[in-house]
Subunit: 457 residues, 2 copies
């Protein structure tokens, strides 16, 4: 966020709250009209939901701004407002929403509120909403909107502009228009830029773009967002199995999806169940619920590591010094494994690698591991001989374990995410915490095996 | 990537390479003209850089497509082509590039190539390129383009359309136009949508949007991208200290920045120095260089944990069973700490929290920690008593340590990233690996302190 903007945010929010408390609604109205809907929504979120301040403030919003402000608020604020709305007010807001925003709203509201929302939308919109709600949660269909400008290939540029003027006001974008036949089969697309630069008498069929990249309604929404990003599109058409145009996805949805997906991936990589609420809006109990199952699972897995120690207890008893290097070996193994796994997980989600690259990836990781493990072993050997002075034999055991552990850790780290992905599991779960737990057990096993044979325990 | 699209990619690339080997250039030309420049660029990347296939193929590209294909290629491919270009060809390509793309190209090319590029750009473009190159690497100025449509507030809608037609062809976007005075002070903006819906005789000054959200040239580029995402803008103006318009940032650059920054954050969170190359294009030596310094640093830090073990060696010798629970306690501590730290790091980068939230965050994390630690301690106690049967005293030591460790880990995990951010360090570095190393030492210290006092060692 820009520095100036933060200053603006704080000052404006404080100013607005002050005006609210003094009930200076006329001044508030002026203030709101100078702001962007997103900023006004942030002010609304600061106001207590109880009492009638929230609906009063909403009623003083400039009419053309109201629904934009509404859709930018957080869900609690929306729910509080809907509760306070008359049916007429609710209908007015809903009429102004784009279909994809209405769907988002319905997905987040409690069941009782949803019923009231659907009762107050016109039948055609309700039909479209219900249709979009049927697409799976992570599909392109679930985030598309059906409000696009449809043109016909026989139209002239002049006629196209007339159609855009007539129907464009309530479309999410008018800059890319879609040419379909009467069965809604997608024939081509044409941008307002092309229309502006063309002669008014030209026929759309002659100038439209016919090499169209589209996504299927059941395509993963992240994949759809990546197509927008890869091709620098501002919009991508969504088609059904019969190639009929059913909707569009715009760049702002793609930005949201990419931010959401990165947040989700990062959460899963650190063994947290993702939530879509901001940190400070998530309750303590909710946060506990998103974290404790993973901690329990990982704690139970870590007992296997304990079992390995127990089974080598006699060796440890005679060489207690070996215990001192357990944390370093476990940590280094875990870190080496995470480096590989997280790199591969990210490469997978960016589409840079796929399962068929497995041999190349393993070959690369093994070479990197030999270099990394070798460097660490040599550095460590120098330290052990010079500072710790624990003797050649134990030093060799520790450094040998280091080298082997790093190689095994990188191998496991790069292989598991690809395997998980191949069998349809979420590869992000194979990040640091799981890899660490697995590599811990392996590294201790290697440690004690090398120790017992070298030290003759 | 869409399923269909993958099929298209593989088939088309194979087909193209076959046509190349058979030197069927006419057919190739037809094939290329049916593809998107991004896809053609991918085919080029598969062709060996040695020999003259690459320049020959480039020469058969449809003229209007050539520079679009060029800018989508990877840097090695671009360098190979520039080497093969005549000055005339290089100039033709450069003339078609947007300024921001030319800057990206120059930033990635070796010095010799850069000289040749600058020699072949016209003086005005060269001046603009040099100006953009002076902005810091991560600033909004470094990713902006200077090609926008400039209008004047006295113009009518009719005149605005005429100006757009005249100057719009080589602008990165024409859909948002910027109204400035003669000193380039930004007065307002107006979209083609507004222009289309307005009367032809209306004056821009009367209908333009004057509440403008802009970014400063020195603003962080990630913050600029987040403004586009937050307000659903397709473009944001970049202004200098005197509020003069110097450039614009478009949504496609914002998408790239957000993808890049997420990849960078994820790399840093797993203790890898970020590179901007795809995984399979990064060499073994380069990968080693990005990973080994962190492993070394963390290995050295882990020796402190070893020192703690050494100093409690006598206690361990009399109770070897204590060793068996070291991995579980270390892992659980590390995981609890990472959950908190990574959540806070992400919240910081999304702008959800800031340093002043520290007390709230700590208070929340402590409560979550008591819940999580309590759950784990109880589950663990049951397991220790029922399965391990190690006696009440040791069980209490292990479970007491568990509870205290989780609380300390969450506290450290949520505090360090915020402190790092406050003093101007990169908070992402305070993710799993560092938190794990710190928490390891703390958890063992707690373990042995509790053990020595409870067991009377």
């Amino acid at each position: 966020m820009g520095k100036e903007e933060i200053i603006l945010d704080i000052n404006v929010t404080e100013k607005a709250l002050e005006l609210v408390s003094k009930k200076k609604f006329q001044e508030l109205k002026t203030l709101f009209s100078m702001l962007n809907p997103t900023d006004v929504a942030q002010i609304f979120e600061e106001i207590p939901y109880e009492g009638d301040t929230l609906p009063i403030l909403f009623r003083i919003l400039p009419k053309e701004m109201a629904s934009d402000v509404f859709i930018e608020m957080d869900n609690d604020c929306q729910a509080a407002l809907i509760k306070a709305f008359t049916d007429k007010e609710l209908k007015d807001v809903l009429d102004e929403l784009f279909v994809d925003d209405a769907v988002d709203l319905i997905e987040e509201m409690p069941a009782g509120v949803v019923k009231r929302i659907l009762r107050n939308t016109d039948p055609e919109t309700r039909r479209v909403i219900n249709q979009i709600l049927q697409y799976p949660d992570d599909s392109a269909g679930s985030i598309m909107t059906t409000e696009y400008v449809r043109l016909e290939k026989e139209m002239t540029v002049e006629q196209a502009f007339a159609r855009i003027k007539l129907t464009g006001a309530d479309k999410e974008t008018i800059y890319t228009c879609f040419v379909t036949d009467e069965r809604r089969l997608l024939l081509g697309l044409i941008t307002v830029r092309q229309l502006l630069l063309a002669e008014r008498t030209e026929i759309l069929g002659d100038i439209m773009e016919t090499n169209i990249i589209s996504v299927d309604t059941f395509e993963d929404k992240e994949a759809a967002a990546q197509i927008l990003s890869k091709y620098d599109f501002s919009v991508v058409p969504v088609v059904d199995k019969e190639k009929r145009l059913v909707g569009i996805i715009t760049f702002d949805d793609a930005l949201d999806v990419m931010e959401e997906e990165a947040t989700e991936d990062i959460a899963k990589m650190s063994a947290v169940t993702p939530t879509d609420k901001p940190y400070l809006k998530t309750g303590v109990f909710e946060t506990w619920k998103s974290r404790v199952p993973w901690l329990l699972l990982l704690m139970i897995s870590a007992t296997f590591t304990g079992l390995i120690i127990t089974s080598f207890e006699s060796a440890l008893a005679s060489y207690v010094i070996l215990t001192a290097y357990i944390p370093m070996l476990m940590d280094t193994g875990g870190n080496s494994g995470s480096q590989a796994s997280v790199t591969i997980i990210r490469a997978l989600s960016l589409g840079d690698v796929e399962f068929s690259d497995l041999p190349r990836i393993i070959w690369k990781e093994i070479r990197v591991a030999v270099l990394c493990g070798g460097t660490l072993a040599v550095a460590n050997f120098a330290k052990l001989m010079l500072f710790d002075q624990i003797g050649m034999a134990v030093s060799l055991v520790v450094c040998g374990t280091m080298l082997v552990t790093v190689i095994v850790a990188k191998f496991v780290g790069c292989t598991l995410p690809l395997l998980a992905n191949k069998i349809g599991f979420d590869p992000t779960v194979m990040a640091s915490p799981f890899i660490t737990t697995i590599v811990d057990a392996i590294s201790l096993f290697i440690y004690f095996t090398i120790a017992t044979s070298v030290l003759g325990l």
